[in-house]
């Protein structure tokens, strides 16, 4: 589910930082995969050229969390090729020369995927937001999905219709501490009233329902889920989304794994031939339909 992904995006980054404070060698755990060195990235990205970089020769091992939620995966079955992330994983595999039968899925809890150390997969695809803090302990691919922030408000309140940049500054916002949504409020919207800052997103949601705040800001998938399924007393709506500020989901690799070079080429190719856009239209259409406004 989207909102799980969002809570992952920054709260967990804090945990990584704490770990880094405790483990002295954190961040210096670079190096190759299975004895190879980073210079191996010069190798060709043909199927035979990357064999020695793989976790298991002959197959591409892809990890995600269990359970895996729609619209990223459908029916918690990554191997069915349905859902945005499942489809993207298979598209990348195809670009690298692996047919569907040569892709192996493994389960990897989110928190294990983003800590330092050896990995039991080639890459992990799990709505992980790329942050500089995380990038110190794992290697990220380029973006396969740009994250946008969106406004959730009660149905029929002023912000639903009045949200010009000047009007946006006049509302009372609330958000979860440590999220990109809160940073967006303070740094981009810059409201005149101090926002309310909660320990969990659920509390911010409760405050919205109770009318204690006018709106909350969170990533579009989470916002869509909250407005559509969670906050219904009274009804809430996803008002609009903001242009992306560079936050994006990336595939997770073991720190320094040279395979990322070849996967980035595959992602670039999927971007230029329209493959990614087509998959976003197919699986993430519910997010694309919301209007984009300026802060």
């Amino acid at each position: 589910m989207g909102w799980v992904g969002m809570r992952r995006s920054l709260a967990a980054a804090g945990a990584v930082i704490v770990l880094c404070g405790a483990v002295a060698a954190c961040g210096s755990s670079g190096g190759g995969n299975g004895g190879s060195t980073a210079s191996a990235s010069a190798t060709s990205c043909s199927k035979s050229g990357i064999q020695h970089l793989l976790y298991k020769q002959g197959v591409l091992t892809v990890a995600t969390d269990n359970p895996a939620y729609p619209p990223w995966f459908i029916k918690n079955t990554p191997s069915n090729g349905k859902g945005y992330e499942s489809a993207v994983a298979y598209a990348i595999a195809a670009k690298l020369g692996f047919p569907k039968s040569k892709v192996v899925w493994v389960h990897e809890p989110f928190n294990k995927a983003i800590i330092p150390g050896p990995k039991a997969f080639d890459f992990d695809i799990n709505e992980v937001s790329v942050t500089p803090q995380r990038a110190q302990v794992v290697t990220f691919s380029n973006s396969y999905y740009p994250v946008q922030q969106a406004i959730v408000a009660r149905k029929g309140t002023p912000i639903v219709t009045k949200h010009s940049p000047a009007q946006l500054k006049t509302y009372l916002y609330g958000d979860q501490n440590g999220t990109t949504g809160l940073t967006y409020i303070t740094t981009k919207i810059q409201p005149t009233k101090q926002p309310k800052v909660f320990d969990t997103l659920a509390e911010a949601g409760a405050a919205l329902e109770a009318g204690r705040i006018d709106a909350l800001v969170t990533d579009t998938p989470t916002a869509q889920y909250m407005a559509g399924y969670q906050l219904k007393h009274p009804q809430t709506v996803l008002v609009a989304q903001f242009p992306t500020v560079g936050e994006h989901y990336g595939l997770v690799f073991k720190k320094g794994n040279p395979l990322v070079t070849c996967v980035n080429k595959a992602i670039a190719s999927l971007q230029s031939d329209g493959g990614l856009t087509a998959l976003q239209k197919k699986y993430l259409g519910i997010y694309l339909k919301f209007p984009t406004i300026q802060p």
Binding site: G14, I17, G178, L182, T186, V197, F198, A206, A210, G211
Partner: protein, 301 residues
């Protein structure tokens, strides 16, 4: 209060100062030798503590994470456009909350204590209610009371009652919870005044109420000032719990800074600010205890 105290016959308290050890920091150390020994032992203890922090393997990381001067200054002054708010400005909310709460607690707790101490048969149901109140609010964690009021009352959508600022619900929760504790302190104070005091007052023609007001309460309150101040020091810190309602008080401002910048020095700033608030009150309590001790010794002599 010394002047109207029956236990202090007016002897100079100073003449008994050397009789025992008091809670003052240096009161028991006499002479140059004692001063020298205390200086050396203080240096040794502080050096040992400093060594633990400075020589630890993670000393540098610890310093950077918790004691970075740059981060402490930035979090103190705040910068909303960078995503964090001033801890220094936020402590003002804590101060206002506990000042209001203290006054209300003193009044409500006294009311509850008097009800619980009452003896009239007609007041029985109110006594039961007061006992239930104390049992309930002493037993329920304060943070849950704050949560229930801060999220529950607005959810009722009542006019006026449901539209107050978060700090108001926070203060209400603090008052409800702390009054239960403080009423027990009052009760201990009321019980510490001997029944003969009331009898004497009544024999002089004072009514029950007047005897309570002019004979019992002044003595009871004087006896419980130290434990009362103790509770208030605790109250000052517990105002930080109101941050769970989303309002940006000092602890919440520090937390926002640490989540934004990934540095915990902001919490050190909040801790220092709370210490600046509580230490003077703690020293004041010490002095009151010392004064009371002297007076008791004087009375006993």
């Amino acid at each position: 209060m010394d002047s109207n105290s029956p236990m202090s016959p007016g002897q100079p308290a100073g003449s008994f100062a050397g009789m025992g050890r008091g809670p003052g920091l240096f009161s028991s150390y006499r002479g140059a030798r004692a001063a020298l020994i205390s200086t050396i032992s203080t240096i040794v203890v502080l050096a040992a503590l400093a060594a633990v922090f400075l020589l630890a393997a993670g000393a540098h990381a610890f310093e950077h994470t918790f004691l970075s001067p740059t981060d402490m200054w930035r979090s103190f002054i705040g910068n909303p456009k960078q995503g964090y708010y001033s801890v220094g400005a936020a402590i003002w909310l804590n101060i206002r909350m506990f000042l209001v709460a203290e006054v209300l607690i003193l009044a409500l707790a006294l009311f509850i204590a008097l009800i619980r101490q009452s003896t009239g048969p007609a007041l029985f149901p109110i006594r039961i209610l007061a006992t239930g109140y104390v049992d309930f609010f002493r037993g329920v964690p304060l943070i849950l009371v704050i949560f229930a009021l801060g999220f529950g009352v607005p959810a009722l959508s009542l006019p006026f009652i449901s539209t107050q600022p978060d700090a108001v619900y926070g203060v209400m929760a603090l008052v409800l919870s702390y009054s239960a504790y403080v009423s027990e302190v009052y009760r201990a104070g009321l019980n510490s005044v001997h029944q003969s005091q009331v009898s004497a007052a009544r024999s002089l023609g004072l009514s029950q109420g007047t005897a309570l007001r002019y004979v019992v309460l002044p003595q009871a309150v004087r006896n419980i000032i130290p434990p009362l101040l103790n509770d208030f020091i605790s109250l000052q810190k517990d105002t930080a719990l109101v941050g769970t309602l989303g309002v940006i008080e000092a602890n919440k401002a520090a937390s926002i800074y640490s989540e934004t910048v990934f540095n915990f020095s902001s919490f050190t700033v909040a801790a220092i600010l709370f210490l600046i608030l509580t230490i003077p009150l703690a020293r004041f309590t010490d002095r009151l205890i010392e004064r009371d001790r002297r007076r008791r010794l004087a009375g006993g002599a």
